[in-house]
């Protein structure tokens, strides 16, 4: 964006404005754009979710307001904003007021490192991935504030559940991404995407693979397992069914949102859906290549970019549109999977959730990191790191061996951990039953 604004003002008009003004203008433009996009995504996702879940339940869904019900979210928003804003008498007023802001702000900040298309990233941080998850963990503070300030037991319970869940599932999410970071050796999201060019084999792994933008990490065993773990963790982070324990409306009214109404409730809602969108988008970016897809790389090679200053801006436009299309298609597909899971599965119990996260997902990601190390050792390392036996192998052979070994490791680990987990859960139930038999016998008689 800086380049475009700079070219427009200083080259085309020849005004020779200083660099920081142009930086300010371009950043303001990007921010405005993103702040316009985020609520729109939320509006669209609510509509999308309601329509999709309705179809899964053999219904039609909202179809009254506007063509095919498309204006329904706007009507909902109008309803929400015209509602009275109620603050409980016993509430901690300032904390109660600040909590929604603290929840919304991080989700908006997370947009800062999300690349929408080739060359279309607001900020290319070299610790972008870490930034993404560090920022997302802030919203847990907002949830706690909401729960504590409401002076409501349901809000408190919901906040505790939400925060425990978010803190627990951050670990498998970050660890699963760590495997991918090991594969590429970078934390920058832009470079992560660029490493996914190729055709089912990343051209970073095997040179000479045709670039169709399909060298996604999902096609490697490490990436597949990491994706599965990450997606489950993302469900928990975004408080989606089957992990919607914090706002389980059949148990604790609406969780931490219980004492909120009107606009503040709307902000929580906004944060939640924007977070879901971002989690889907980051899953698409890291495991499914983001804007990578057939044609984008070819178009972007002919466009204006730092590497190719005398390109044609038409190709910028085309590559941008195609890239954004690919990214949004993948994101919405993931959101559909989220809705699909919501239609399919019931809610977990809190202890089941915690056991699953700590006793199954985290060991699985640790094993996955080991297989990522194997992958890197077989593909990248040579004699200077002490790996001598792969010296004479062709790249494709190295790739094949690495694929087979990591696949075997991951499958064996998955089955073994699942068995152990299932057995331990059964054992746990049995022990509980034995221990409580005496007291319960007395109760039942």
């Amino acid at each position: 964006m800086y380049d475009i604004v700079n070219g427009l003002i200083n080259t085309t008009f020849g005004w020779n404005w200083p660099g920081w003004v142009i930086a300010l203008i371009s950043h303001l433009l990007v921010t405005t754009l993103l702040f316009a996009i985020a609520p729109f995504q939320m509006l669209f996702l609510t509509y999308y979710e309601r329509r999709a879940i309705a179809r899964m339940q053999d219904r039609i869904g909202p179809n009254r307001v506007g063509p095919a019900g498309l204006l329904q979210p706007i009507a909902d928003g109008v309803k929400m904003f015209t509602k009275e804003d109620i603050v409980p008498a016993a509430a901690d007023r300032w904390v109660h007021f600040l909590a929604p802001c603290v929840v919304v702000a991080p989700t908006m900040l997370m947009f800062a490192v999300l690349p929408w298309g080739p060359g279309m990233v607001p900020v290319d941080l070299n610790v972008g991935l870490l930034f993404f998850f560090a920022i997302s963990s802030i919203s847990a503070v907002g949830l706690l504030m909401a729960g504590l300030a409401s002076s409501n037991k349901f809000a408190l319970l919901g906040a505790m559940r939400a925060v425990a869940q978010m803190v627990s599932y951050e670990i498998p999410a970050v660890l699963s991404l760590l495997a991918v970071v090991m594969l590429t050796g970078t934390l920058s999201i832009v470079q992560l995407i660029e490493a996914q060019a190729g055709l089912f084999i990343s051209s970073a792994d095997v040179p000479g693979v045709p670039d169709l933008g399909l060298g996604w990490f999902i096609f490697t065993p490490v990436g597949l397992l990491a994706f599965i773990v990450f997606f489950i963790a993302a469900l928990a982070e975004g408080e989606r069914t089957p992990f919607d324990i914090p706002e389980a409306d059949s148990e604790i009214v609406a969780g931490y949102m219980t004492e909120y109404s009107g606009m503040k409730f709307g902000l929580f809602y906004l944060a939640q859906y924007v977070l879901n969108f971002l989690l889907c988008a980051i899953a698409a970016v890291i495991f499914f290549g983001g804007w990578q897809g057939p044609g984008v790389g070819w178009l972007y090679d002919r466009a204006i970019s730092p590497a190719n200053p005398d390109g044609n801006w038409v190709f910028n436009l085309l590559a941008g549109f195609l890239g954004v299309f690919y990214l949004l298609a993948k994101t919405y597909a993931f959101f559909f999977v989220m809705v699909w899971l919501r239609g399919a599965f019931p809610r977990l119990r809190v202890d089941q959730l915690m056991d699953f996260g700590w006793k199954f997902l985290i060991p699985l990601t640790l094993v996955n990191i080991v297989s990522a190390a194997i992958w890197v050792a077989l593909l990248r390392w040579g004699p200077e790191q002490g790996i001598t036996f792969t010296q004479n192998w062709t790249p494709i052979l190295r790739w094949g061996v690495a694929f087979a070994v990591t696949l075997a490791v991951n499958i064996v680990a998955y089955i073994a951990l699942a068995r152990i987990f299932a057995a331990s859960q059964a054992e746990q139930g049995r022990i509980d039953l034995d221990e409580y038999r005496d007291t319960l016998t007395a109760t039942l008689r």
Partner: protein
């Protein structure tokens, strides 16, 4: 540009010090924890200003995302002390003594030392504006696995031990916990009650000792 940075630094410093003062003075512990989070944010911003991006992100991830959450959790679990009426600071001469110690430490020890010492700051690169060579994330990672490998592993062991220790300390006896059985479990239990398994324990075994009851509040008052 220098003025802008100075203004930003001033704001961040004010945020850090002001939030820290609020942390130690407000009555409500929850508010104190929230001010602590603000203070952590200020420190993270200061890291960004010092061009330690990775550390800033880690600050947010660890302090804001984990430690402050932990503190808030602990406050929630020990909730009866968060009331406004409870005196939060030690009283009388002890308060004044601590305040005096802190102030003296700052005014007599720290500030004169920092000001008077001549720091061996290296000269900035020759043409002003060229980026300084800064150690980045890659160097950090390399330092951990080459130069500071032992320390790194010790830190890992420390974290593991702390994790285990925290669990051991905070672990609640299973027998003290209350748990509601699910329908399936209750059904299973009823089945077992209807058909009890053969008793293997010898008849002469002494009855288990009664469970230790937690000390009630009345006893604490005495």
């Amino acid at each position: 540009m220098a003025t802008v940075i100075q203004i930003i630094f001033g704001l961040i410093a004010a945020l850090i010090v002001g939030a820290a003062v609020m942390v130690v003075t407000v009555r409500n512990v929850i508010h104190a924890a929230l001010w602590l989070i603000a203070c952590f944010f200020g420190v993270g911003a200061l890291y960004l200003l010092l061009e330690a991006e990775f550390l800033a992100v880690v600050q947010v991830l660890v302090y804001v995302g984990a430690i402050s959450i932990l503190i808030l959790f602990a406050i929630m679990l020990t909730r009866q002390v968060t009331g406004e009426g409870v005196r939060q600071l030690v009283g009388g001469w002890r308060l004044w003594l601590t305040a005096a110690i802190s102030a003296l430490l700052f005014a007599v020890a720290i500030v004169p030392t920092v000001i008077s010492h001549s720091w061996n700051v290296p000269a900035p690169p020759a043409p002003p504006g060229t980026p300084e060579p800064l150690a980045g994330v890659a160097e950090l990672g390399r330092a951990f696995v080459y130069e500071f490998l032992l320390q790194f592993q010790v830190a890992g062991v420390l974290l593991t031990v702390a994790l285990i220790g925290a669990i051991v300390i905070a672990f609640e006896e299973r027998a003290r916990r209350r748990r509601v059985l699910t329908l399936a479990e209750e059904h299973e239990l009823r089945k077992r009650l209807a058909h009890p398994p053969p008793v293997e324990a010898p008849a002469g075994e002494p009855a288990p000792a009664p469970r230790a009851t937690p000390i009630s509040e009345g006893e604490v008052q005495q």
